[in-house]
């Protein structure tokens, strides 16, 4: 199952400048783990003790995963997962 994970511009140094990473996975958590396995250093910046850091938002096809099943949210072939900083707005 091919999932596209979009990386925020400020973290692209860790992906060799790539803004998108293609991975396999059945859930958001599995897809992110696959990204972390490919790119050292991203895991600790995005997660802490296995959970997303509190100022990280993750979306599947534009929908915040906190309205779904969090990291257990299912992803389908061709879905786009977006990682964004949560401190904007207001």
């Amino acid at each position: 199952m091919s999932i596209t994970v979009k990386i925020p511009a400020q973290l692209r140094a860790a992906t060799g400048g790539e803004g998108e990473v293609e991975v396999e996975g059945g859930t958001v958590g599995e897809a992110l783990d696959a990204v972390f396995d490919q790119h050292d250093g991203l895991r600790e910046r995005i997660t802490s003790d296995g959970d997303l850091r509190r100022f990280v938002n993750v979306y599947v096809e534009g929908e915040d995963i906190r309205f779904q099943d969090g990291l257990e949210t299912a992803v389908n072939d061709g879905d786009e997962v977006t990682i964004l900083p949560a401190v904007a707005g207001g």
């Binding site: 938002n57 309205f67 977006t82 964004l84 707005g89 207001g90």
Partner: protein, 430 residues
């Protein structure tokens, strides 16, 4: 417009007086330090960045004199805003020094002792957003941006469009497409590119966060958010000045993202630290609409996490379901023995009417939320009648007319005395 202190007027050197310095951007979570650029989150932990100043060596007496000799708006507080010495900008739409009104009839209706209303609708585009936008647009110009932009629930859209026009910058303003008509009209008139998003504010915010990485624009509340947020501190400074350099006992203010609420606390803390005012941090009470109350819900649950919500409220200017500064707003309310409460749409309408009828101030739905929560706290007996309370009214009633539509009756009569007398029969004399 900034008045330099003439040599020889003080026992202290100018170096001491002007020693307040903007140092860096620092992560509020892990403390990592960044240069003063267009950055808004920590690359290590994603925490929000905040402007750090060097307050050492300041002389409170000289600083106070300098403030009082300054401009009549927010730039009198330029020493506490994120601009390097010598770069304090003039501003054709300078906001600030809005009225602080003693609201005795409101206090009486609520059984309270001393209530003051800070009417921040009296700004150039009729909301507190002029303060944060004035700071952000000045910073955008300093950093060399030619285009400013924002994600807005309405008031920010008005302010960005107007301040960009005044500064001669291009602007893009992103809003939920179902926003109140008054707020759309009061934005489009300035010649901005007004973009209505088919979604709620949090959808708008997500898009703008993505766009900020793709376009060379200054999004005032995304990549310039650290500077923008500093503008809200001027609400605290003004309140202190207007109360004769003293503090209120309690503050009641609205919470959308929580930025303004927390910056009120930061502004007061700075002045306490420097010695410009004495006392302790007031009790902080936050106000949310029941239909969008992620911070009030977390407060009630004793949680540190604001679970996001899908907004459903007439208070659209507070309809942020995923508040960026929610955790810090919770910290501030809890550490000052305050509260974060919510009110429903009927209580919001009642709050608008209560403020209008007792003070002559017509506020928008956000102000209805704030006054509604004030009334709720008063009813709960949470406010001691001996307290001095300041209530923050952040926007103008003419922008949310639907909230008061059909809430009163017009007496329609013929243009004759008889018709008037029939409608308003004179009181019978015994």
């Amino acid at each position: 417009m900034w008045e330099e202190i003439p040599p020889g007027t003080s026992a202290h050197s100018q170096a001491e007086v002007f020693s307040l310095a903007v140092e860096s951007l620092n992560c509020k979570e892990c403390g990592a330090s960044y240069e003063l650029g267009a950055a808004f989150f920590c690359e290590s932990c994603f925490g929000p960045l905040e402007v750090r100043y060097d307050h050492s060596g300041l002389d409170a007496v000289e600083l106070k004199r300098k403030i009082q000799a300054g401009s009549r708006g927010i730039w009198r507080y330029a020493d506490f805003l994120p601009f390097a010495e010598g770069e304090r900008p003039g501003d054709p739409l300078e906001p600030g020094m809005t009225p602080l009104v003693k609201a005795d009839r409101l206090a009486e209706r609520l059984g309270l002792g001393e209530v003051w209303v800070k009417n921040d609708a009296a700004n150039p585009t009729h909301s507190f957003k002029d303060r944060v936008v004035a700071v952000a647009v000045a910073k955008a110009k300093e950093l060399g941006f030619e285009t400013v932009a924002c994600a807005s629930t309405g008031n920010l859209a008005n302010a960005v469009a107007a301040h960009a026009a005044a500064a001669g910058l291009d602007s893009y303003v992103f809003v939920p497409s179902d926003l109140e008509e008054q707020k759309l009209l009061a934005t489009g008139v300035y010649g901005t590119k007004l973009v209505g998003i088919r979604g709620n504010y949090d959808d708008v915010n997500r898009l703008c966060t993505e766009l900020a990485a793709e376009r060379p624009w200054a999004f005032v509340n995304v990549n310039l958010r650290a500077y923008y947020a500093e503008g809200s501190k001027t609400l605290a400074y003004e309140t202190i000045e207007q109360l004769g350099w003293t503090l209120p006992d309690r503050i009641v203010g609205p919470i959308a993202s929580g930025s303004m609420f927390t910056k009120l606390g930061r502004g007061i803390s700075e002045w306490l630290e420097i010695g410009l005012v004495e006392g302790e941090l007031p009790i902080f009470c936050g106000a949310q609409a029941e239909g969008c109350s992620p911070v009030a819900t977390a407060f009630a649950d004793g949680s540190d996490v604001c679970k996001p919500q899908k907004p459903d409220t007439i208070a659209k200017s507070l309809a942020i379901g995923d508040p960026a500064d929610g955790p810090y707003a919770l910290d501030l309310a809890r550490s000052t023995a305050g509260a974060i409460e919510s009110v429903d749409d009927d209580e919001i309408r009642a709050g608008i009417r209560l403020l209008a009828e007792t003070t002559g101030i017509f506020t928008e739905t956000a102000g209805g939320v704030t006054v509604g929560v004030l009334a709720k706290l008063a009813e709960q007996g949470a406010i001691d009648p001996g307290e001095r309370v300041v209530v923050y009214i952040t926007g103008e009633g003419l922008k949310t007319l639907d909230a008061v539509r059909d809430s009163f009756q017009m007496h329609e009569i013929d243009p004759t005395l008889e018709s008037f007398e029939r409608e308003f029969a004179p009181a019978q004399v015994a």
